[in-house]
């Protein structure tokens, strides 16, 4: 059996809503309800769901950026405490949806990739590591001196991937990594994420509303709705034979191309 990396145990997160949004008193929003998922080393897990399903809340908790209302998240058996485990960022890294907002516009690309190496106290030649990850995401050394606004959307997302990989994480979480990109660039970035995580043996957690993205990269998928997992299993099995009504509705709602002749 492969090693358990991330595990949630009856994980719940409830937000208090501001008064007045729906009548009087403090309303509660149950973003996650008693969630139990486990991720093994080398897994490629897809998380799919619509807005409000709890995907982002789950990502924040898996990153140790938020405190559960009840239950827990464990990384290799250790319970996460938000803000108290700086070493965790070396292990669990993230690529965000929109690299225009996730990269600091005032920093050069080399500084952007150097930052995690410095902050996490990575003990190796930083310049060599920067060159190495730039190369692995298919960017030329000349990019080191550029600023994010000088790059295309696809190149910026490559930088975000390079930054995430620089500290050699065990787990990479990609939260809608291609939704902000043009159709023709999406393929390349997905291919890159698939290849790098596979070659480096990195566990991948991919969050997307786009089932075709999940189908392409993930062996296993969980379908979330209103804070609970409504269906989970092997990606092909779930998409070919969805058992839950919501999964079926999701699949039916995808606009299709006209059939080829």
């Amino acid at each position: 059996m492969s090693q358990l990396v991330l595990e949630t145990k009856d994980l719940s997160r409830t937000y208090k809503l501001a008064k007045g949004a729906s009548g009087s008193g403090k309303a509660l929003r149950h973003a996650l309800i008693d969630l139990n998922i486990s991720v093994n080393a080398g897994d490629r897990l897809g998380i799919v769901g619509e807005s409000g399903s709890g995907k982002t809340t789950l990502v924040r908790l898996l990153l140790g950026l938020d405190t559960p209302t009840s239950g827990s998240v464990e990384f290799k058996g250790q319970t996460l405490v938000a803000g108290k485990m700086p070493w965790l960022r070396k292990e669990v890294q993230i690529v965000f949806q929109d690299p225009r907002s996730s990269l600091d516009p005032r920093m050069k690309i080399s500084e952007i990739i150097r930052e995690p190496l410095v902050c996490l106290g990575i003990n190796e030649d930083h310049d060599a590591r920067i060159n190495e990850v730039l190369q692995s995401v298919g960017l030329e050394q000349a990019m080191r001196e550029r600023y994010p606004h000088e790059l295309s959307g696809g190149q910026r997302q490559r930088v975000a991937i390079a930054r995430a990989l620089a500290p050699r994480p065990t787990v990479l979480i990609a939260d809608e990594p291609v939704s902000a990109l043009d159709v023709l660039v999406r393929d390349q970035i997905l291919e890159l994420i698939a290849e790098l995580t596979k070659n480096l043996g990195i566990t991948l957690i991919l969050v997307s509303h786009d089932l075709s993205v999940i189908a392409r990269l993930c062996d296993r998928v969980i379908v979330m709705k209103d804070g609970v997992v409504v269906e989970s299993g092997n990606t092909r099995q779930v998409f070919d034979n969805p058992t839950h009504a919501f999964t079926r509705a999701l699949i039916a709602a995808i606009p299709r191309l006209p059939q080829s002749l």
């Binding site: 023709l184 393929d187 392409r216 062996d219 191309l257």
Partner: protein, 266 residues
């Protein structure tokens, strides 16, 4: 005579042409999709028709709508068409709607401005429009502010505002890109039905090929400011003539294949 005729339209910012000598026409009741990636000029084209280009843009060529030349039209005259003869639905309804104004007044707005209706009459018509775009509990919705509604509800409001004055032309610029896929399906169906019922023409701007295929009979493929191919949906998908169209279609097909398990990647 065509309802809308675009001839050699060129839009530039300084030396940079963002739309480069494009031409297309649209008959009454017909539909056209503008498809392309970011920077292809599709949104600039729709903004030019609406007269909403920034002042820094230089525009040449011609856009005639109902026989009237729109290029060089004063903003005052253009505003008589906007929200009246030409309605527009934007991508992100949260920014397209006024956050400080109740929904009722926002829908009644175009009716008061263009049709000279009183607020009372405007609100009565707004109620009917809410029902028409399939909003439940319209009385409550009219009194609500945009932030109190869901994304799908907000886009339905956007559609109600665009259609309030029975426009001859509806421009929808990525109207469902910000929506969840199940909601997208509902909103697309709604646009389909309403455009048909109202006999409006439709310009549908999107980057999403499967969506455009479901919405329009003709598609103009834009790349770097030019229309590289203008064809019927059937021709485009079965025998794309331009290399760029072929690439777009094959990217969409490979996404679909990977989903249905044909393009097994593992």
């Amino acid at each position: 005579m065509s309802l809308l005729e675009v001839n050699n339209l060129t839009i530039a910012f300084g030396n940079k042409k963002v739309v480069d000598s494009i031409s297309f026409s649209l008959d009454k009741g017909a539909r056209i999709g503008l498809i392309g990636e970011s920077g292809s000029g599709k949104s600039m084209t729709s903004l030019a028709i609406m007269g909403l280009l920034p002042d820094t843009a230089t525009v040449s060529g011609s856009i005639t709508f109902e026989g009237q030349e729109l290029i060089g039209l004063s903003d005052r005259d253009h505003s008589r068409l906007r929200g009246n003869r030409i309605g527009m639905v934007f991508q992100e309804p949260l920014t397209a709607l006024n956050p400080l104004m109740r929904i009722g007044k926002q829908i009644a707005g175009p009716l008061m401005i263009h049709k000279g209706q009183s607020l009372k009459a405007g609100l009565e018509n707004a109620l009917e429009l809410c029902i028409k775009v399939g909003l439940p509990d319209p009385d409550r919705i009219l009194r609500a502010y945009p932030h109190q509604l869901s994304g799908g509800q907000r886009q339905r409001i956007g559609l109600a505002i665009a259609l309030a004055c029975d426009p001859a032309l509806l421009i929808a610029d990525e109207p469902t890109t910000a929506l969840d896929v199940t909601v997208q399906q509902e909103v697309l169906n709604l646009i389909n039905t309403l455009v048909q019922e109202e006999r409006s023409s439709l310009v549908f701007v999107t980057h999403d090929l499967p969506v455009v295929a479901a919405m329009t009979e003709n598609v103009a493929v834009m790349q770097l400011g030019k229309i590289v191919e203008n064809a019927s949906v059937a021709t485009l998908f079965h025998a794309p003539a331009h290399e760029y169209s072929r690439r777009l279609i094959s990217a969409a097909r490979s996404a679909e294949d990977s989903f249905s398990g044909k393009g097994a990647h593992q």
